[in-house]
Amino acid sequence: MRHLLSTKDLSRDEAVAILDIAEDMADVANREVKKLPTLRGKTVVNLFFEDSTRTRVSFEVAAKRLSADVINFSAKGSSVSKGESLKDTAQTLAAMGADAVVIRHGASGAPRVLADSGWIDAGIVNAGDGTHEHPTQALLDAFTIRKRLHGSASRGRALDGVTVAIVGDILHSRVARSNLWLLSTLGASVQLVGPATLLPVSTEGWPATVTLDLDAAVDAGPDVVMMLRIQAERMTAAFFPNAREYSRQWGLDDERVARLPAASMVMHPGPMNRGLEISSGAADSERSTVLEQVANGVSIRMAVLYHLLSGTGEARA
């Protein structure tokens, strides 16, 4: 594996292997010396054209724990704001000897362009591109589900038979797409829930069932309810009348949470709009995995960087 651009590219074995490596990386976080010398001398560039706190910091911590050098680069305050093209930026980074580029970009497919263009000979990690994919978020979600379900016996397991309801703004959500491909590769069954205006026009060929009714989805008792953030910044039209109506119909409030089976977990990729798609009660309950997701994000990103940057880049063990 040379790049991580989409969870569609991952085979079941590859995905499980990354989750297993992440288990080992999680152990490192509990040690006194939270650092491994594995990627010493490698340079990881965080190339963020969109705002982000947790993803960028998470990648930065992950790279630093593996002893790589990290260069943070955000579009604001860089030459990009003077109109530099992606090509010139990439070639500049290549000239500085970047071994991996973690890219977040507002345009779907920007990481793929970077990987295929030949502008730069580095491993490319997609950290979110437009409304397309966010593979490391999906991997950390799968890791979190597996950890909750199987605890310390997680290694080697997939997610066969797990039922997941992904709720909210499916249309604009790269998290939903990446999760859909990955979770179904791992054997879970996925249901997409949201208002008709926030569902893609066609979900033909998607390995998921679709419903408009959150109450029915909750009463079906899914193992996981994954809430998505309402992304006001991507909304160019009125997709629902007002926040209160959205919240009433598709928000995970205290009453809906109470109807879920005792073992069900509530996930949210963050940042949360409390009171809109998720109530504070739901976000802070025992079922909520929000903080686990953040902690696991570091382990997953360490595993991905290890996978991409160690080895000759050809076959993998």
Partner: protein
């Protein structure tokens, strides 16, 4: 090339028993002993050693495993390898006598990685090295304290250690 048997099941058992006594002798008892195996077969050997040690001096020796993948110096030259597990006994390794266990000692680079990994986990009082087979050709100034069998080899030969828990049979062959 044909495989030639170097150690049979009984030889391996005898070697491990002798190493156990040597460990106890050099440590003057079993106090503060932590046996750490290096995956994969070193862990099996470490478990066997701890069983023998606890039979001689009951209930005092703890056992664990130490994965060195992340500390190797040849990561960039080989395909990506999946790391093994590191399990440190509850008492930790600070101030303990740690005995590293591996199946074959060759270049010494694995042991170098193990020493680095160990220093990130704590500060043992002493670190010893036990191996089933020492085949020579060291590339680093490292030597084993306890050796099952010294086996002079040429670099073109391959030493195969098979253990019942993993391979279904106990034997060491050279080919």
């Amino acid at each position: 090339m044909t495989a030639r048997h170097v150690l049979q099941q009984a030889d391996i058992a005898r070697a491990l028993t002798r190493i156990s006594h040597e460990i106890l002798e050099s440590n003057r008892g079993a106090a503060g002993l932590v046996i750490l195996g290096i995956p994969t077969r070193g862990v099996t050997l470490a478990t066997r050693l701890s069983v023998i040690l606890n039979a001689i001096e009951p209930g005092t020796v703890s056992v664990g495993s130490l994965d060195v993948t992340m500390y190797r110096d040849d990561l960039a030259k080989n395909p990506t390898r999946a790391p093994g597990r590191t399990t440190i006994p509850a008492g930790g390794i600070d101030g303990k006598t740690v005995v590293l266990v591996d199946d074959v000692l060759y270049s010494g680079r694995t042991i170098r990685s193990a020493l680095d990994a160990l220093s990130d986990l704590g500060r043992p009082r002493t670190v010893r090295l036990a191996v089933l087979v020492d085949r020579g050709h060291r590339e680093l100034p490292i030597r084993a304290d306890f050796v099952g069998k010294n086996l002079p080899t040429s670099t073109s030969e391959r030493i195969m250690v098979r253990l019942a828990e993993i391979d279904g049979v106990d034997e060491v062959t050279i080919e």
